[in-house]
């Protein structure tokens, strides 16, 4: 395990975060956007777990934090999907760029 340096995990998290962000900001399909956001949150989890093991002061709290983050992410995704369904009923689309009835 120790052969893989902490920085690699951090880099992985960062890359994952960026992929998620990219997806969240560019994909048209709202479901994919929500999934991309999950990626971002998971990147955080990788970070937390990495630090909990390889951090300056390793401790278990990082993993606890990650657990909380996972559950919250799940709740968020659930609410997001629920809203999307409701929106789909009125708008008949899941394309995020068509949700622009309100603008200046």
């Amino acid at each position: 395990m120790s052969s893989v340096p902490a920085s690699a995990f951090l880099a992985l998290a960062l890359i994952l975060f960026c992929i998620g962000l990219y997806g969240a900001l560019t994909k048209r399909n709202t479901v994919i956007v929500l999934i991309s956001i999950e990626l971002m949150l998971n990147a955080v989890n990788i970070n937390l777990v990495t630090f909990s093991k390889y951090g300056i002061a390793p401790s278990i709290t990082g993993q606890v934090f990650a657990l909380f983050a996972i559950s919250v992410a799940a709740a968020e995704a659930a609410v997001g999907l629920a809203i999307l369904i409701s929106l789909y009923r009125t708008r008949k689309t899941v394309n995020i760029d068509e949700m622009d009835t309100m603008k200046n």
Partner: protein
């Protein structure tokens, strides 16, 4: 953790939270088991009662010394008490708006949720004021956020409401992710999620690499949280969401949610980063970040006030106004003056009063006309002088004229800006944009007082609205004329 340790905790300091939690549970059950035909408004009144009870409980706790329970994850100190009071008062007033809210479409079946979701959001916010741990802070934040997402979309069959909720969720989740990412670095550098411990550890950071990482974390956390504040750069969701959400929810977002945002910002940024990484060249990371904060504050004020000029929808206009006010509050944060918490608290109090009052009027007018155009306010003075004059006073307070709480709030921030190392540029921008704000606030005045009415029908004011208006106007004027009532009260906590 054994049962004994659990029972050893001084749980009484959590009484307000428990009351709210209890009411939530009660309402959920009631909503479930009450026959459909019974008007759910009763639930709203119940929640108001719950909030009042929580406030009473909080008052009884006012004299207590700062207490920490649950291994320092929950702290009831002066900061917590004072902001909890604000949140409770704000949420209470919002509940009054909510019980008077007569939705035209989409939420006939969901009135129960409508009330207790406010309470869950409130609970999240209240936890934030008292948390002493990153995890509880985060949980509080998410409890607030997720409840708000649903609230924004509570008008299930209304396209605008749905869209607003969707936008809110997406932006909110991205913001959460960014914040968390920043937090993860903080954790990584300290190995702890306890705020006091983090602050303690960070003050020992001298390594350049770590300082750099800390700066990165700071920026990410701040930008993520700026979503809650509705300040630049994460402000753009606000107009769309404000417009689409039901008016009480908009009011909630602009007041309670924003207050919670400042709570967490002060908790994390100020208490954690204040002494972080003090390098030889003077000052902690927070002082290094000083210029970024100032820049963001200035941008927020400018965007909020300038773009508000162009709005024709009153709720959008108030969204920008809300952005602008976030900017003013950021000025207080930036200056880091001795009365920082004090001025933020007072400003949020003033802002709560005037903004909720204004939303009460907006709610009445938009319900009557079915749209939320500023032009709908034309001739309001003829149709309902009381409403128009009330709105007038609140707008004057929002614009920051003397005699109102808005002025004292701004004055307070201003004093801070000039105290110690003076922030000429920032203060000048603040005051110049304030003058710009006269344009749009008085634009509403123009409609209300100068323009002829499109129709002559009168208004019936529901009880809840009347309560909110009276509290808002009396509060705005009282704290404008005798601010020391509030200030002394705060000092006694």
């Amino acid at each position: 953790m054994s049962l004994e340790t659990l029972s050893e905790f001084n749980w009484s300091v959590m009484t307000p939270e428990f009351i709210i939690l209890g009411v939530i549970a009660l309402l959920t059950l009631l909503d479930l088991f009450m026959p459909k035909r019974i008007d759910r408004r009763i639930l709203g009144w119940l929640s108001i009662a719950g909030i009042i009870a929580a406030m009473a409980a909080l008052f009884s706790l006012l004299g207590t010394e700062p207490t920490s329970i649950l291994y320092d994850t929950f702290t009831l100190d002066m900061f917590g008490k004072s902001f909890k009071l604000l949140l409770l008062a704000g949420a209470g007033l919002v509940m009054f708006l909510a019980v008077s809210y007569d939705a035209k479409e989409g939420m006939e079946d969901y009135r129960g949720e409508f009330y207790y979701l406010f309470l869950t959001a409130l609970l999240g916010a209240m936890f934030m004021t008292s948390s002493g741990d990153l995890i509880t802070l985060f949980i509080g934040l998410e409890l607030l956020s997720i409840s708000s997402y649903i609230l924004a979309g509570i008008k299930k069959h209304n396209l605008k409401s749905n869209e607003s909720a969707m936008k809110y969720v997406i932006n909110g989740s991205i913001a959460t992710a960014i914040t968390l990412f920043g937090m993860s670095y903080v954790y990584g550098l300290t190995g702890s999620t306890n705020l006091a411990e983090i602050a303690n550890k960070l003050s020992a950071v001298v390594d350049g690499q770590h300082t750099y990482l800390l700066g990165l974390a700071f920026l990410m956390i701040f930008v993520g949280l700026s979503f809650k504040l509705a300040s630049a750069p994460f402000h753009m969701w606000a107009p769309d969401v404000y417009q689409g959400a039901p008016t009480p929810v908009t009011a909630f977002l602009s007041v309670v949610s924003k207050t919670a945002g400042f709570v967490i910002v002060i908790r994390i940024l100020i208490s954690v980063f204040f002494n972080a990484a003090p390098s030889g060249d003077g000052g902690s990371i927070l002082f290094k970040m000083h210029d970024y904060l100032a820049f963001l504050a200035a941008v927020t004020m400018i965007i909020g006030n300038v773009v508000a000029l162009k709005q024709t929808n009153i709720k959008r206009m108030f969204a920008y106004s809300s952005i602008a006010h976030a900017g003013y509050l950021l000025v207080a944060l930036t200056t880091l003056s001795a009365n920082l918490i004090f001025s933020v608290w007072f400003y949020l109090l003033a802002y709560m009063l005037m903004n909720l009052g204004a939303f009460a009027v907006i709610q009445v007018v938009t319900e009557k006309t079915g749209s939320a155009e500023i032009a709908d306010f034309a001739g309001l003075y003829r149709r309902s002088p009381v409403l128009a004059v009330t709105m007038g006073i609140l707008l004057v307070s929002l614009a920051g004229f003397p005699g109102t709480a808005g002025f004292i709030g701004k004055l307070n921030i201003f004093v801070g800006a000039f105290y110690g190392e003076p922030h000429y540029v920032l203060a000048s921008i603040m005051i110049a944009t304030t003058v710009v704000s006269y344009f749009y606030y008085f634009g509403v005045m123009t409609q209300m007082f100068f323009r002829p009415a499109r129709e002559e029908s009168k208004f019936n004011l529901p009880f809840g609205i009347i309560v909110v208006l009276i509290v808002a106007v009396v509060g705005s004027v009282l704290f404008g004329v005798a601010p020391n009532i509030a200030l002394d009260f705060l000092n006694k906590m």
